[in-house]
Symmetry: C2
Subunit: 226 residues, 2 copies
């Protein structure tokens, strides 16, 4: 009997959605458990006591946390039809490099661009645009970061394809520009029109309402969100 | 003919030394090129144009950057006698989790504890001690993080074994306490007494002089170092 696969996630989390996307690309059945992040469950705290965050991936009762670590585990455990990492060690290293670049550089700069103001915001916007131009260069000549099919870097960049647009709207700024980033723009269209990606998309209106409420709350309390 | 292996590093960088340690554990010959980080070479800028940092690993002229990415590449390319990652996918996931924990949590908190003052320093010291206690728990019952032999987490934690002690001395603080972290303390002794680790150690006096000069420079200019 196959071992049970469970995912503790949150509907609006790009990191949970990464794991769902990988599981669906590979055709792996899983039970999804929605977490209330304002009132974390004993299960979440038990299985991710260090970071206390989603996603938590459970395979036969054993937890794996941190979305990129989970993606590697899924790839190594279920080869399946859809590889999310190339076989060649050098190409795998490149996929790991770009996934880390998205996580450590692109997402934080875009996130901070949307929640800061004044000079700080300007600096984060400059960084964001530089990072997006670097990604643009990496995508040149390819349909997906993974080549002809969605791979780990595409999955890591899910935030850029969906969440970033919503956040820009809430913040009233423009970072991903069709004129400046035509290749990345095309990638977003390709990626977002994949039927499997669509199955993993949190509704745009829901995210928009969520982040707009967050913005109002920040304005009211002046609490830092980062 | 085997493809040429080169490493662009800096004598005092814990991240370069990680790569040297992995290469030596596996018995891979390499050419080492010392970089002057105050005057970066065209080679470094060519091969790591995004981060402009050491280490840069070159295999047959092809670059890999980011030390944890390089370690995975080395493991996948040269199986050799000394595996630095376990074979089992779940154990591999755990090794990746802990390596990332060292990189994202432990090293930044220790580094900042040593270069800040006042309340900020106190907060970083509390974080550092909490992180070190978590590592202490993970090491329980094991000689190395990798079990009986040095693995990827041990290599990632090289900073804690050597650099952290020097930095604490420069800052006049104590984070790694033999009473509070007896298992981690024992690990440092075991790890540092390995002949291969010793081959990769920058001399303590050299590091001490380097960081003391840095501290003086900061005091003189009030420039932030983080």
């Amino acid at each position: 009997m196959a071992e049970e696969v469970k995912l503790l996630g949150s509907w609006g989390s790009p990191f949970s959605r990464r794991v769902e996307l990988a599981l669906r690309l590979k055709g792996i059945s899983y039970d999804y458990i929605e977490e209330d992040l304002s009132n974390k469950s004993p299960l979440l705290l038990k299985y991710n006591p260090i970071h206390k965050k989603v996603p938590v991936f459970l395979h036969g009762g054993k937890p794996v946390v941190e979305s990129l670590v989970i993606l590697e585990y899924i790839e190594e455990t279920w080869e399946g039809d859809h590889a999310i990492l190339p076989k060649d060690p050098y190409e795998r290293a490149m996929a790991r490099f770009w996934s880390t670049f998205v996580d450590e550089k692109c997402i934080p700069a875009i996130w901070m661009s949307c929640w800061t103001e004044g000079d700080m915001q300007q600096n984060f916007m400059i960084q964001s645009k530089e990072n997006l131009s670097i990604l643009e260069g990496e995508l040149k000549g390819k349909k997906f970061f993974g080549g002809d099919a969605i791979g780990m870097v595409d999955i890591a960049a899910f935030f850029i394809a969906h969440w970033a647009g919503v956040l820009q709207e809430v913040a009233g700024i423009s970072l991903i520009n069709e004129e400046k980033h035509p290749i990345l723009f095309k990638w977003i269209e390709e990626f977002m029109s994949s039927s499997i990606v669509m199955e993993c998309l949190p509704a745009r209106e829901g995210l928009l309402a969520y982040f707009q409420a967050k913005k109002e709350a920040i304005r009211a309390t002046k609490a830092p969100v980062y």
